[in-house]
């Protein structure tokens, strides 16, 4: 295995919800797909997530929320990334996100929302197709 560019993804759970089974499963799924996954764990503030993305030079930030806080946290992460000059980081989200919130989140800069039942292959494909690398 020679060194080459690998997709680096931050997996984070913003806010206070403690349900990380989905996030952990996806972390493994992404690692199995050959990505380098930085799992930051529960109870992350947007600042912590963006700091991690900055220091890790991440290509992707994956946010998971099951507690209904996505409308605040997801756009806030996108905004902070922009403020740090990390516009090229792909932000994707998942969890329990009501259909009617999706359009607004996408407008705020979240590239995709993956709800329950999404095939993991589709998520991987989306990331691989949309990740930008200079």
């Amino acid at each position: 295995m020679t060194a080459k560019k690998r997709v680096k993804i931050i997996m984070a759970k913003p806010g206070l919800d403690g349900h990380d089974r989905g996030a952990k499963l996806l972390a493994r799924v992404f690692a199995e797909a050959g990505m380098e996954v930085v799992y930051t764990g529960l109870r992350q503030t947007p600042e912590m997530i963006v700091d991690a993305a900055l220091q890790e030079d991440a290509d992707v930030v994956g946010l998971s929320s099951l507690s209904g806080v996505h409308n605040y946290f997801f756009p806030r992460v996108v905004q902070l990334l922009k403020e740090k000059g990390l516009d090229d980081v792909l932000v994707v989200g998942g969890g329990i996100i009501p259909e009617e919130d999706v359009a607004e989140l996408k407008k705020a800069g979240v590239a995709a929302i993956f709800g329950p039942g999404t095939r993991t292959d589709d998520i991987i494909k989306f990331i691989e197709d949309n990740v930008s690398r200079s």
């Binding site: 380098e36 996954v37 930085v38 930051t40």
Partner: protein, 317 residues
Amino acid sequence: MDDLVAAVLQGSVKAMARLITLVENEDARALQIMGAIYPHTGNAYVLGITGSPGTGKSTLTDKITSILREREQTVGVIAVDPSSPFTGGALLGDRIRMQRSSGDAEVFIRSMATRGTLGGLARTTNDVVKIMDAFGKNWVIVETVGVGQDEVEIAKTADTTIVVLAPGLGDTIQSMKAGVMEIADLYVVNKADRSGADELVNEVTFRVEQDAHIRKAVWKPPVVKTIALENQGTNSLMEAIEEHRSFLRQSGKLRKNRREKTRQETLALLREEISRNVLERVLGNGRFDALIDDIVAHKKDPYTSVQEIVRTIFPEE
């Protein structure tokens, strides 16, 4: 690229993160980058933390970082976790235990996957240490992958190497073995509230005593008991680190050790450069495959063939 190096030297975190990626990916510009970085290195103190999985390396790293921050020292952390030998992917989970340090602008944490390198570190970990050093971090803490017995690369990188142990992972003979147990400047018995902790302290202390009889050494590694999660013993650990650091400085060993490290590193670079050059020429002309055919058919042997190849490239004067 020069801009990126300049930005790192001026303190841009984003530039440092980017530069580390280029070096980690062994980008074509990596050697040139490191050449520009090197003159600005040599100021950071490098602390290595190694030990079996689950002994508490990340938590200890977090606590040491906090203590250093209280002393207004800036800190870079490199946390290495293994890559999958099958997919090349990696789950890098050390940041989870470093929450107290994240959010502090003076602490820079970088996770690294081993990408197929054995020995406890990634191939480019050393270079990342140098980048953080040049950036101006006072301390760089390198946490290895969870190691078993033979992963001793960290001792070639760190000024002070800490081997973290926890109770319940083996009998006396384990602590007598070669390898990881030999590289400690300092032993930590973490999770000291668990049963078996005192026995482990005794075993390790016994080993240290034995070592003192077996070989001449001027530094006797202390054994420190900690309960990292509860922040117990961490100040004593920091004191022990400082003691070792003073010892290295006063005895002149810091300079001596660093010279040896530089020698090893330069040799490794030379080896790489030679082998890259030679392999390019050998594999470039297609004759190598023909040679393999001959060897498989037992018309030639690999031992003599290799000597012949090298002799054509470096003809004897």
